[in-house]
């Protein structure tokens, strides 16, 4: 079963892509690591970012976590709050 997830963008990732969310096709059993590979392939501009983490439903996710189309997914570039 193929579907599409929306990936929220913030900070530099939004500026580099010119978008505030990306539509990324995922297959069943797509993992966080696979999503990151796909995002980097589709948006080579993101290579300049020092590190990219993924949040799933508002929590930092490990690379082997499996994604579903119901998840709220976000790319987290290096934070600079405080």
């Amino acid at each position: 079963m193929n579907s599409t997830v929306s990936v929220l963008l913030f900070g530099i990732t939004r500026d580099l892509t010119g978008q505030s969310a990306l539509s990324i096709p995922i297959q069943t059993e797509t993992r966080v690591g696979d999503l990151l590979d796909q995002v980097r392939q589709q948006y080579p501009a993101l290579a300049g970012v020092r590190s990219l983490l993924v949040a799933v439903n508002g929590e930092y996710a490990e690379v082997d976590q499996t994604l579903t189309s119901k998840d709220e997914i976000a790319l987290i570039p290096p934070v600079s709050g405080g």
Partner: protein, 136 residues
């Protein structure tokens, strides 16, 4: 009490909130917007947050501090939106019976906020802008 706000941070109401009948010490930390740059003066800063996650990550940090130290009251307030240099970007207030707990919890919270909370800061110059920390 945890807040993410576009309004200027009100130190006086934070202090009022931090009062406790058993208070022996209050440590209040203010993170102030500073002009980091050497040659190019910063015009303003833009703080952006992944709101839902920023709040839950700040809550996790506060919960962890509660586990580690004996805290009577606490408040963490982070600003977002446009800030000028000199403005308060973050306030952390900790009320304890004993001062060591207040200092240690306060420092733990600000150090951890800077590592994990999804908030991003862009420095805006007259001739360009830079997301802080993003590049190698």
């Amino acid at each position: 009490m945890i807040a993410l706000t576009t309004d200027p941070i009100d130190v006086a109401s934070a202090l009022k909130y931090l009062q406790s009948s058993q208070a022996g010490a209050i440590d209040l930390f203010l993170g102030v917007v500073r002009d980091n740059t050497q040659d190019r003066p910063v015009d303003r800063l833009e703080y952006e947050a992944y709101d839902r996650m920023a709040i839950s990550e700040m809550q996790k940090i506060a919960d962890e501090a509660h586990q580690r130290w004996s805290i009577l009251r606490y408040t963490i307030i982070h600003r977002k939106g446009t800030l000028l240099t000199g403005e308060i970007a973050v306030l952390i207030g900790i009320t304890t019976a004993h001062r060591a707990d207040a200092f240690e919890a306060c420092r733990y919270i600000i150090d951890t906020i800077k590592q994990t909370v999804p908030i991003w800061k862009k420095e805006i110059f007259t001739d360009g802008e830079v997301w802080v920390n993003a590049h190698p």
